[in-house]
């Protein structure tokens, strides 16, 4: 079956996303990395669903999709706000909440 290699791919994609999230300073790229991580999670669910022949994996994918849609719409609104306020997309520049 393809489930095991699919899970390995999901892990690789998740790791790539995490690396991107942590290494990129541009907030737009951080969002893209988040999308990759979400997709990796979705892939893992689909693979699991395929392994056991059940629909639950796809249903979880649907929920991830919903979550991603809501997250992206709000996050992009915030990105627009930030870029207007700070005139930059550098995530490290938005550190006014430093303790």
């Amino acid at each position: 079956m393809l489930s095991t290699p699919a899970l390995v791919l999901a892990i690789i994609l998740f790791g790539l996303g995490l690396i991107g999230l942590l290494s990129r300073r541009n907030i737009l790229y951080m969002l893209l990395s988040l999308e990759i991580m979400l997709n990796a999670a979705a892939l893992a669910f689909i693979a699991g669903g395929a392994r056991w022949g059940q629909v639950d994996g796809e249903i979880m994918f649907l929920f991830i999709l919903t979550l991603a849609a809501a997250e992206v719409s709000v996050a992009l609104g915030i990105v627009l706000q930030l870029s207007h306020r700070f005139r930059t997309l550098d995530a490290d520049a938005f550190c006014e909440m430093r303790g």
């Binding site: 393809l2 991107g20 737009l28 669903g49 796809e58 999709l65 979550l67 992206v72 719409s73 706000q81």
Partner: protein, 167 residues
């Protein structure tokens, strides 16, 4: 079958790698679209056609379009080197990867070897029944999540436009 999967996985991996390493936002987005399409092919090969279709329509379509709009709205911040975008080298990578995927899809259609076509219809039915049966709470929660998402996005965007007007 397996070889198709491994090719698609390689395409996904390469495209994702380019997403996180690329300098230009629009290029990165293009690679991400390719990665998503490759992923949807993997979904198809895993027997989840419905998920594959949604992956292309909503992820590759709607959500990526949102990203592109925002990149455009960001203007000079994201478009520092606008001229280089039009250079052929930017298009080559995504094009190659997309062609690989196209080949795979063409092979799938030509071979007529549809892994899960036989069980497809009862599977959609089962998804729908499960969604509105045991998962109904999840659906409600998702709708409750989407509504604040809508309001939040509207609110953030509205304040932006009013500030822009006052400036």
């Amino acid at each position: 079958m397996e070889i198709l999967f491994y090719i698609a996985a390689a395409v996904t991996f390469l495209a994702t790698l380019r997403v996180i390493t690329h300098v230009h936002a629009v290029h990165a987005l293009l690679y991400l679209v390719v990665a998503l399409i490759a992923l949807s092919l993997i979904f198809y090969l895993l027997g989840a056609q419905f998920a594959a279709a949604l992956e292309i329509i909503i992820y590759g379509g709607a959500i990526m379009v949102l990203f592109i709009f925002v990149v455009m709205l960001l203007g000079p911040l994201a478009v520092e080197q606008e001229r280089t975008w039009l250079s052929p080298s930017a298009w080559v990578g995504p094009c190659i990867l997309a062609l690989v995927l196209l080949g795979e899809v063409g092979y799938l259609i030509a071979s007529g070897d549809h892994p899960t076509m036989a069980v497809a219809e009862p599977r959609q039915k089962a998804i729908s029944i499960a969604l509105y049966g045991p998962y109904i709470i999840g659906v409600e929660l998702a709708s409750m999540l989407l509504l604040p998402g809508l309001i939040g996005a509207y609110h953030l965007g509205r304040r932006l436009s009013s500030e822009a007007r006052s400036c």
